[in-house]
C-alpha cells in the first residue's frame, strides 16, 4: 500500500541526467535549491555523450556571423513549424552559453588565434540564406561527451543529489493539477520510492527505439514522454521524426552522407544504380528524404539485397583503400567492426535509420509544460520539460545539426531559472495525493502477475518493425491506416504480456517491460499524428500530399492519450524583438 512507501522530499526533481537535465540541475543547485536527479543509467552514460558534431553559436570566430542569421536558418530548417519566439531566445542566448560552458571547463577545440574553433554544418548561412556560415563549436568529435562530463562534475561540486540507476514510473498529480513528484523504482533492489518535489523537470531524451533501425542508444525509450501522456498531458508534433537514409542495415549505426559525397553510390540486388531513376540530376546526393524513400521503395518492390531482400548496398570499393582510409575512416571502422566488411572490397548493406525526435512534451521558452485551455494555453503547475523529450518548439519539422546540444543547454538553464522563481512563490510541499500514488503503484505491480502470457521481447520486436514499415520514411493514408491498426493490435497483445522472472534484484526484464509500455504509447501518438497531417513538411513526408500546405497545416499537432484525440495549436510566428520570418518555400 502507498502508506508503506519510503519517501524523500526535494525542492526539485530532475528525471534524466543528459545535458538538459544536468544544466537545469546545476542552475538550481548553484541557487541553493535542494535538487535531485534520477537517472536509469549512470549519469555520464546518458545519450548526450553520443553527440559528436558540436554546438551552434554565432561567435563569428571563423566567418562573419550573428544570432539573427542563425535564427533565420533555424526557422527555415524547421520548415517554418518552429516557434519564432523560442528560436530567437535560443539563438540570442547561444554565444553567452557557449562561453559559460567554456568557463565551466568544456575544452573546446581552438583556432590558432586561441578562439573557439567553429566548423561549417549543413543548413548554416550568412546574411539570411547567403554564403555558407561556420557556426558549430566543437571539442574534436566528442562535444557531447565533454559537455556531459563537465556538467556532471559541476553538479557534484554544487552538491546535486543523484539517484543513479533508478527508473521513473509515473508522475504524481493532485486534483488541482499540480505535479507533486514521481514514483521511481530502484533497479538494484526492485523497490519503489516516492520522491516528492515542489517542481519536477522531465529531461528523459528521445524515443529512437520506436523504430527497428535507429541510431539511438537502447536507453532512448521516450520514458518521460509516455509519463506525460499517462498524466493527461498531450504530446506535440510527434509525426516529425528525423531519419538518415543510410544506417547499417539491421544495426542502425550512421553511415554519414560524406560516403556518397566522396563518390559512393547505392545499388540494388541487380547491381543497378537506382538513384538515377528517382533523382536523375542529384542521384545519390539527393536530399535525405528522397534517398530514404528510394531505398524503401527498392526493398518494398523486391529489389532489396541479402537473404531477406531487406536492404540495399552502398558501393565504395571503386574509391580504393587509400582514399577510404584517409577520407572516410569512421565508416571503414563501423563497417569492419559491425559487419566484418572491408569497404574497399565489398559494398555495405544500408537502410534508413531513425535519428531524432522533433516532437515531445509541449513547453514554452521557460521550460514550463503547457496545455491548451479554452482561450490559449496554461502551465501545468510544478512541471517542466527540456531537451529531446520536450517540444518548445525550436526544431519544428526538422532539426539542424548542432542545434540539439544548444537546445539542451539553453532551455536547461531557462527552466532552472524559472523553477527558482516558482520555488520562491511555492515554499512548501503540497499534500501528496495518495490516490495518484496508488495508481502509479498499480501500474508498477501490473508486472507482478504470474499467469502465462506473451514475452516482452516479441512485442518490442514487432512494434519496432511495424513502426519502421508503416510510419517510417514512406507515408501514405493507406500505409499509415494499416500502421495504426497494427499498433493497436500490439497494444491489445500487451495486455496479455507476462514476465517469467519476478525476482527483484536487477530485474532488467521488468525495466524492459516498462520501457516497451512507454514505446507503445508513443507509437500510437506518432502514427495517429502522422495519419492526420495531410501535407509534407520537414521530416514528415507524405507521398499522397507531396507539398507543404501552410493554409491548413501551419500548426502544431497535440495528441492526447485519452480517446486518441488530436487537437492543434498555432505556430508562434511573432519573435520577441525582431520582425517575423514569414513562411517561404524551403530551397537550399
Amino acid at each position: 500500500m502507498s502508506m508503506d512507501l519510503p519517501r524523500r522530499q526535494f525542492d526539485t526533481l530532475v528525471i534524466g541526467a543528459g545535458g538538459g537535465g544536468l544544466r537545469a540541475a546545476l542552475q538550481l543547485a548553484q541557487a541553493d535549491a535542494n535538487v535531485a536527479v534520477v537517472s536509469k543509467v549512470f549519469p555520464t552514460r546518458s545519450h548526450t555523450v553520443a553527440a559528436q558534431g558540436g554546438i551552434n553559436a554565432a561567435l563569428a570566430n571563423v566567418l562573419p556571423d550573428n544570432w539573427h542569421w542563425h535564427m533565420y536558418d533555424t526557422i527555415k530548417g524547421s520548415d517554418y513549424l518552429g516557434d519564432q519566439d523560442a528560436i530567437e531566445y535560443m539563438c540570442r542566448a547561444a554565444s553567452h552559453l557557449v562561453v559559460e560552458l567554456e568557463h565551466a571547463g568544456v575544452p573546446f577545440s581552438r583556432l590558432d588565434n586561441g578562439k573557439i574553433y567553429q566548423r561549417p554544418f549543413g543548413g548554416q548561412s550568412q546574411n539570411f540564406g547567403g554564403e555558407q556560415a561556420a557556426r558549430t563549436c566543437a571539442a574534436a568529435d566528442r562535444t557531447g561527451h565533454v559537455i556531459l562530463h563537465t556538467l556532471y562534475q559541476q553538479n557534484i561540486r554544487a552538491k546535486t543529489h543523484f539517484f543513479d540507476e533508478y527508473f521513473a514510473i509515473d508522475l504524481i498529480r493532485d486534483d488541482n493539477g499540480f505535479i507533486l513528484g514521481v514514483l521511481v523504482l530502484e533497479i538494484e533492489t526492485g523497490e519503489p520510492l516516492l520522491i516528492e518535489a515542489k517542481t519536477t523537470l522531465l529531461a528523459t531524451g528521445g524515443a529512437g527505439q520506436l523504430f527497428r533501425t535507429n541510431t539511438n542508444a537502447h536507453i532512448n525509450t521516450g520514458d518521460g514522454l509516455a509519463m506525460a501522456l499517462r498524466a493527461g498531458i498531450p504530446l506535440q508534433d510527434m509525426e516529425f521524426f528525423q531519419f538518415h537514409p543510410t544506417g547499417v542495415a539491421g544495426r542502425g549505426m550512421l553511415i554519414t552522407e560524406g560516403a556518397r559525397g566522396e563518390g559512393g553510390y547505392l545499388i540494388n540486388k541487380d547491381g543497378e544504380r537506382f538513384m538515377e531513376r528517382y533523382a536523375p540530376h542529384a542521384k545519390d546526393l539527393a536530399s535525405r528524404d528522397v534517398v530514404s524513400r528510394a531505398i524503401f521503395t527498392e526493398v518494398k518492390e523486391g529489389r532489396g539485397c541479402g537473404p531477406d531482400a531487406d536492404y540495399v548496398l552502398l558501393k565504395l570499393d571503386h574509391l580504393g583503400k587509400e582514399v577510404l582510409d584517409k577520407r572516410l575512416p569512421g565508416i571503414c571502422e563501423t563497417s569492419r567492426t559491425f559487419l566484418h566488411i572491408e569497404p574497399a572490397e565489398e559494398p555495405i548493406p544500408v537502410y534508413p535509420t531513425a535519428h531524432y525526435t522533433m516532437g515531445g512534451i509541449p513547453t514554452n521558452r521557460f521550460g514550463q509544460v503547457v496545455v491548451p485551455v479554452e482561450q490559449g494555453e496554461e502551465c501545468i503547475p510544478g512541471l517542466y520539460a527540456v531537451g529531446e523529450c520536450a517540444c518548445v518548439s525550436v526544431h519544428g519539422a526538422n532539426r539542424l545539426g548542432g542545434n540539439s546540444l544548444l537546445d539542451i543547454v539553453v532551455f536547461g538553464r531557462a527552466a532552472g531559472n524559472d523553477i527558482i522563481q516558482f520555488l520562491k512563490n511555492n515554499r512548501y510541499h503540497r499534500k501528496i495525493d495518495e490516490n495518484s500514488v496508488q495508481a502509479a503503484l498499480d501500474h508498477l505491480h501490473r508486472w507482478d502477475k504470474k499467469d502465462e502470457g506473451e514475452s516482452v521481447a516479441g512485442i518490442r520486436t514487432d512494434l519496432q518493425a511495424v513502426m519502421e514499415e508503416y510510419c517510417g520514411v514512406f507515408r501514405t493514408e493507406e500505409i499509415l491506416k494499416q500502421g495504426l491498426e497494427k499498433v493497436l493490435e500490439i497494444e491489445k497483445r500487451m495486455e496479455h504480456v507476462r514476465l517469467k522472472d519476478h525476482s527483484k534484484i536487477f530485474n532488467t526484464a521488468r525495466i524492459e517491460a516498462l520501457e516497451v509500455e512507454n514505446l507503445l504509447d508513443l507509437a500510437v501518438a506518432t502514427v495517429t499524428s502522422a495519419l492526420a497531417r495531410q501535407e509534407s513538411r520537414g521530416a514528415h513526408s507524405r507521398i499522397d500530399y507531396p507539398d507543404r500546405n501552410d493554409k491548413q497545416w501551419l500548426k502544431h499537432s497535440l495528441f492526447f492519450k485519452e480517446g486518441r484525440r488530436l487537437d492543434y495549436k498555432p505556430v508562434t510566428l511573432q519573435p520577441l524583438s525582431v520582425e517575423t520570418f514569414p513562411p517561404k518555400p524551403r530551397v537550399y
Binding site: R45, A50, T150, A217, M253, E333, T337, F338, H340, T508
Partner: protein, 96 residues
C-alpha cells in the same frame, strides 16, 4: 575530461544470475555502438571467459563511454594488456 565511474565495486557478492543481470544493466550505455558490442559480448562470450578475462571486462565497463568506444573500435589500445585482450575479443564478437 573523463569522470571515472566508481559507483560499484569491481565484483559484487550477488548470486551469479543476479550478477549477470547487474552486468547487463552496466552494458546499457549512451551510445548504440557500445550497447550493441557489449550486449552481444555478454550474451555470446561472457560465460566462457576465464576469471582473469572477467576481471578485465569489469575494468573495461568502468571506463567512460568515449574512451570505451575508442578502445572497442580499435582506435586506441588500452594500456593494461589484459583489458586490451578483452577489448579485442569484444570487437571480434561484434560482427554479424
Amino acid at each position: 575530461m573523463n569522470t571515472t565511474t566508481t559507483f560499484k565495486p569491481a565484483q559484487t557478492d550477488l548470486p551469479p544470475e543476479q550478477e549477470l543481470a547487474r552486468l547487463r544493466w552496466q552494458c546499457r550505455r549512451g551510445m548504440l555502438e557500445l550497447d550493441t558490442m557489449l550486449g552481444s559480448f555478454l550474451d555470446k562470450c561472457f560465460s566462457q571467459l576465464t576469471d582473469k578475462e572477467k576481471s578485465a571486462f569489469y575494468t573495461l565497463l568502468n571506463y567512460p563511454d568515449q574512451l570505451l568506444l575508442e578502445h572497442l573500435m580499435g582506435r586506441t589500445l588500452p594500456l593494461d594488456k589484459d583489458v586490451a585482450h578483452v577489448a579485442k575479443k569484444i570487437q571480434a564478437a561484434a560482427g554479424p
